[in-house]
């Protein structure tokens, strides 16, 4: 976990599905260590494909993916499992194992580093268990440790998903639409939590997100994807109606850019937002 240098480097990354759809078209992208980056774009632009190519849940067609100094594309199955441990993933519909307890879900983040029988009997190493307890406390779920995941609310489930990803001790977080199934307030809380944790652990993150305003509030960099190509790459303040038209197509964008006066400094917007939410919580 170096605090400088590049965590993730994509070069000419392409993905063509068997149906013939070109989901990614020679994407070049560098994510520096510790940078939280949002990936925006219309449905079908390839956002989800891009982050799934990084941990090879989707096999890229061509191009290279380098995490730290590991070339992800040329790994053996064992090497790939080890590389996946270094990337925590957070999902849109939480993707928890519903019938397992909160603790089991969090501990499953460490599956890559324990043997089968240990994981089968849920005998995880003491250090892992201690870390899981600490992580559950950090995300505010200390009272729900032995509850089944399907007994939790949406926001709580996503916190479990976050804890599971963090217990992996990753170098980067791959976050796929973390707020798409959540209400506006919970969405902000979850985004804030993800960004805080990234700062605390010096993690880089790639966050796929539909909500442009939410992205502007929390991230340091925005990359716009359209039809598998990068069409915008810059700080949140540079996002304007022309750029959004470039990414999404023609539309009246004034409402989406409501925070534009404050957006010249994303940090200011963040503070305003935090003040407002303090009253809500």
């Amino acid at each position: 976990m170096s605090s400088h240098g590049t965590t993730l480097r994509l070069r000419a990354l392409s993905k063509r599905y068997r149906t013939g759809d070109l989901a990614l078209d020679r994407v070049d992208l560098d994510v520096p260590a510790g940078q939280v980056m949002a990936l925006i774009g219309p449905s079908g632009a390839g956002k989800s494909t891009l982050i799934r190519c990084v941990n090879r849940l989707v096999e890229p067609t061509s191009g290279s993916i380098v995490l730290g100094s590991t070339d992800i594309t040329g790994l053996t199955p064992r090497g790939l499992r080890r590389a996946r441990q270094r990337m925590g993933m957070i999902f849109q519909e939480y993707a928890l194992v519903e019938r397992l307890t909160v603790m089991e879900n969090v501990l499953s983040g460490q599956l890559g580093s324990v043997g089968f029988w240990r994981s089968y009997f849920r005998r995880f190493p003491e250090a892992t268990v201690r870390q899981a307890f600490a992580m559950l406390e950090r995300v505010g779920l200390s009272d729900h440790i032995d509850k089944r995941a399907d007994a939790l609310s949406g926001g709580q489930r996503q916190r479990v998903g976050i804890a599971r990803a963090l217990v992996q001790n990753p170098e980067i977080l791959l976050v796929d639409e973390p707020t798409a199934s959540l209400d506006p307030k919970t969405s902000r809380q979850i985004m804030r939590l993800v960004c805080e944790l990234c700062a605390e652990h010096g993690l880089a993150a790639v966050i796929n997100i539909h909500d442009v305003q939410l992205a502007q509030l929390f991230v340091q960099r925005i990359v716009g994807l359209r039809a598998g190509r990068v069409v915008f790459d810059g700080p949140p303040g540079e996002l304007n109606a022309d750029v959004l038209t470039e990414i999404y197509g023609e539309e009246d964008w004034t409402a989406s850019l409501g925070g534009k006066q404050a957006a010249s400094s994303a940090q200011a917007a963040l503070e305003v937002e935090e003040e407002r939410l303090a009253g809500l919580t």
């Binding site: 941990n55 849940l57 499992r81 080890r82 590389a83 996946r84 441990q85 990337m87 993933m89 999902f91 519909e93 993707a95 928890l96 194992v97 519903e98 019938r99 397992l100 089991e104 499953s108 983040g109 460490q110 599956l111 890559g112 580093s113 089968f116 994981s119 089968y120 998903g161 599971r164 992996q168 791959l174």
Partner: protein, 267 residues
């Protein structure tokens, strides 16, 4: 907003869009059923004579006699219950790996086809036929019954298990895969929790089926309560046979209730 050109009638589109095909299918079905009914050559006189005969036959079952053959009944019952339990346990043990292998989404192609053909073989032979073959192979008695029921359990349990695995929600397994879990860990964490309630339910149901089948295959020599029942009928001891049938009904009902109770509990 009652526009002049708006239609005021609407009916749901028919299941078969082609009107000609739809009408000829209906007409064909009606004609076939009428011809089939006409071809049933019912001999009403024979039927009238048969009624008192059937009544006499059934009344020979009353009152049921539990006492005079009790030691035979008890031995047969124990044999059947032993056969049922052991074959169900062994059958489940074999069905789980075969079922996993027969699920398209978790097994490689060649394993899938191999396991599917085992299931097809098990399903295509009726229990009685398997029992006859196995009685010829290992001799009369409960061993043949045990082997028959174990084999039959595979066709039932592995097939339904495989179909259940194919229908699971793929998001949790995807997340487990993303943590760097091995294949077995992935099965244990990503797949197993989703199918466990169904596996328990199906196993209880199969226990119930295996007991009923044990009574049937006993008739062809595979031991158990079926053999006792067969002997009683051969000796025209219908009152003892009635007792055996009542016991079978009672046990099936008992296992029916207990298995549905367990299935509710594991939901």
């Amino acid at each position: 907003m009652n526009g002049a050109g708006q239609p005021i009638r609407w009916s749901a589109p028919p299941l078969i869009a082609n009107a000609w095909l739809r009408r000829s299918l209906i007409a064909g079905t009606v004609i076939y059923v009428m011809l089939a009914l006409a071809s049933l050559d019912v001999n009403w006189q024979r039927l009238a004579e048969g009624v008192p005969r059937a009544i006499r036959f059934v009344s020979a079952f009353f009152p049921p006699d539990f006492i005079s053959r009790w030691s035979d009944i008890e031995a047969g019952l124990l044999e059947s219950l032993t056969m049922t339990l052991t074959s169900t346990v062994v059958g489940i043990g074999l069905s789980v790996p075969i079922g996993v292998g027969a699920a398209r989404n978790v097994a490689p192609r060649w394993v899938y086809f191999f396991c599917r053909s085992i299931i097809a073989a098990s399903r295509s032979f009726q229990e009685i036929i398997v029992a006859i073959i196995l009685v010829a192979l290992v001799g009369f008695g409960p061993l043949a019954g045990f082997l028959t029921l174990s084999f039959a359990t595979i066709g039932f349990l592995a097939k339904l298990l495989a179909e259940d695995i194919e229908a699971i929600d793929p998001s949790a397994p995807e997340a487990i895969r993303a943590t760097g879990a091995s294949y077995l860990q992935w099965l244990n964490y990503g797949i197993q929790p989703q199918i466990m309630p169904r596996l328990i339910g199906l196993s209880m149901y199969r226990l119930d089926i295996n007991f009923r089948e044990s009574a049937v295959i006993g008739i062809v020599g595979a031991g158990g309560i079926g053999a006792t029942l067969n002997t009683a009928i051969d000796r025209y001891e219908f009152d003892s046979a009635a007792a055996i049938l009542l016991i079978i009904i009672a046990i099936v009902m008992l296992s029916e209730y207990s298995s549905s109770w367990i299935r509710r509990k594991v939901q």
